[in-house]
């Protein structure tokens, strides 16, 4: 390959301009759009945030409840949540589905009142997920909403994992 010693790729990339000027004036179109469509209100945003916070609290409550039931905690070689970069990642979906199946089976092992509380927590997480999903349909560009939606996936995953860990059969414990 022919070498051009004074034109390294890094130097060429460094020299590229980061800014450019559009040929047409874009502001009038933006002004018209933002004039007609009101900005998302703070109260609406806070309502969705509250839903997400409620989902987190529900997960935390379930975790604390299971801990208090003094079921011995186990060391489980489960895949860490952080290994998934994106909730729609097939690896995440596969792991979640597998965990959900185990969770459903193990749920039957718990006392009825414990089971009811966990199911209520899960329902709250799913409601928050749906609320945020609807909000995203109305505002698909929102990065904050997308992050909140992803957090509900993780909350659901965490809840399943808490139940599975707390009901681990004794023979498989380390």
């Amino acid at each position: 390959m022919m070498e051009r010693p004074h034109n390294s790729l890094d130097r060429l990339l460094d020299e590229l301009p980061r800014e450019a000027t559009p040929q047409r004036n874009l502001w009038p179109g933006i002004a018209a759009a933002i004039g007609n469509k009101p900005r998302r209100s703070r109260s609406w945003f806070m309502a969705v945030a509250s839903a997400a916070a409620a989902a987190c609290l529900a997960t935390l409550f379930t975790w604390a409840f299971l801990q208090r039931n003094s079921v011995p905690r186990v060391i489980q070689a489960a895949t860490a949540q952080g290994a998934f970069d994106e909730p729609r990642d097939p690896k995440f979906v596969l792991a979640r589905n597998s965990l959900e199946k185990t969770y459903t089976e193990r749920l039957a092992l718990l006392k009825p009142e414990t089971r009811a509380k966990i199911q209520a927590s899960l329902a709250e997480i799913r409601k928050a997920h749906e609320d945020i999903r609807q909000a995203l349909i109305a505002d698909p560009q929102s990065v904050a909403l997308e992050q909140m939606l992803q957090s509900t996936w993780h909350d659901e995953f965490d809840l399943y994992e808490s139940v599975v860990q707390a009901t681990q059969p004794p023979l498989s414990r380390i």
């Binding site: 390294s8 990339l13 590229l16 800014e19 900005r39 945003f45 970069d85 994106e86 929102s142």
Partner: protein, 187 residues
């Protein structure tokens, strides 16, 4: 290049017009227009390189600022305003691309390449611009975000919805393809 990116990031941080941002967060359209005037060239430049098409880049820039206005009430300064705006622009380009996939696939990918890439940039090498526009989408997106605009791999991966390892591999691939295209020695 890395030192240049760090300097650039620091400069951006000190350039953030906090009072104007606050006014825009509180619903002041005039303040938002000032933000548009300040950030539009960079956002348009980003969209232009991501799309490789001038008209698409203009549309994406408009859509990104409209989306930013709608979401600005929730901007909580956990990141730089410019970073936040970049993420919205990337999201806009990718969303638009998903929606117009068929149209993009039949279009000539280099048809929108700027004849004069930037009026303020002197004489950037047009062959490099063409080589970047000719890169496969995934490689081009990562090169633009990480190699040109100085995003971290973590940020770029999050924006593009890919794994960080994939992001690094795509950057390596982009650099190899560019080096081959431009007949440069790539270490």
């Amino acid at each position: 290049m890395i030192h240049g990116q760090i300097r650039s990031f620091d400069a951006q941080a000190s350039d953030e017009p906090t009072a104007t941002i606050s006014a825009a967060v509180n619903g002041n359209v005039a303040a938002f227009e000032r933000l548009y005037r300040q950030y539009a060239p960079r956002i348009y430049g980003l969209c232009l390189r991501l799309t490789g098409q001038r008209e698409a880049a203009e549309d994406c820039t408009q859509e990104a600022f409209v989306a930013a206005w709608r979401a600005i009430g929730g901007f909580e300064r956990r990141s730089l305003f410019s970073s936040w705006l970049h993420r919205i622009a990337v999201h806009t380009v990718l969303s638009r691309r998903r929606g117009l996939r068929n149209q993009y696939e039949v279009a000539e990918p280099k048809s929108g390449l700027p004849d004069h890439p930037d009026p303020a940039g002197g004489a950037p090498p047009l062959d490099l611009e063409k080589a970047i526009a000719a890169l496969p989408d995934g490689a081009r997106h990562v090169l633009v975000l990480v190699g040109i605009y100085g995003h971290s791999h973590a940020d770029a991966a999050a924006s593009l919805g890919i794994a960080e390892g994939t992001c690094k591999a795509q950057l390596h691939r982009a650099r190899q393809l560019l080096a081959a295209s431009l007949q440069l020695e790539e270490s």
